[in-house]
Amino acid sequence: MIVGITARAAGTDAPVEQRFGRAPYFVFVDTETGKAESVENPLVDAAGGVGPRAVQMFSEHGATVVITGQVGGNAAKALEVGGIKAYAYRGSGSVADALAQYTAGNLQPLPLA
């Protein structure tokens, strides 16, 4: 399973970013192999409509779970239709910490509908 986490920088040591579509980086972690891929988000400075476009990037990377602070209405709709589950991480820890919290079952799902 691939988990996508919004981050302020590349790598699993980077702090988690609370914003979804405008997060500077997306870190995709394969939970089977433990491999992480960091992707710079080209939408940081886009004028609008970043939510649905970010969801397409998560879909393309095969992510089925997103960990972020919060998502907007359009992103929520796209995540729901795309079958991607979103979980809220409100802490100030790293990508690795967010993933550990998710694996331990401590994160609450974000309401999408």
Binding site: A46, G49, P52, Q56, E60, N74, V81, G83
Partner: protein, 283 residues
Amino acid sequence: MKIAIASGKGGTGKSTVAANLACTLSRSREVVLVDCDVEEPNLHLFFPATTVDVPVTTPVPEIDPARCTLCGECGKFCRFGALSVLKDRVLVFPELCHSCGGCSLVCPQGAVREVPRTVGRVACSRPLPALVLISGVLNEGEVQAPAVIRAAKLLAEGHPLTLYDASPGIACPVIETLEGSDACILVTESTPFGLHDLRLAAEVVERVGIPAGVVINRSDGKDEETLDFCRERGLPVIMTIPFSREIAAVQNRGGLIAALLPGWEERFVALFEAVVKIAGVSP
């Protein structure tokens, strides 16, 4: 002849000037007044009348799932996020679409078809014997103001004398309104904000290439800074409306000073003559 009324700052009196000018001119000729402030049209408050409404539609994408291979090209192309290509379908957000048509061009499968979607309407009426009012109305939550402005201006075409009342600001809706105008009246007020936004608006009309004159509204008689700016930029000041309780009282009950206060009809006739001179075309 087409005259645009713009301001930069909101609430300076664009609609006051437009409505009074239209009322005045309609006593001697046919006039069409177009409310291009489609996000909050208000000229109908001065000219209540029964309207005939024409819907305004813009094209938005519709995906043919039989042809779509989910390649993702349309979603990557759309800078407004109106298309999200997911694992098993393409999700369309029509309210984010700016109708550029790019998705249908980049689709290698010909799977994107454009279908009309209503974003607003144009309301047409004849409130006075020689005055036609055409108001653009953008539906709430929609972004495509220019499409409604284009439609309103199109319905006004063919008339010899047309006034366009612009929205505040200097963004796309104002530029759409200015396009094709022979002259522009910039309405300002003698406040720091009024002057700040007049500077911006003056720059826009200059870039679009439309000759302009300035109306100072709610003047307290201390307009030196505004007058200095106008002199510097070669913008003639073609009318000054004083800050007056009497004028405000007429305005507040939806009245027109050109019709209700002595001397103002003549002043709006003079304003029109000054604009004709600025435009350099025959009315």
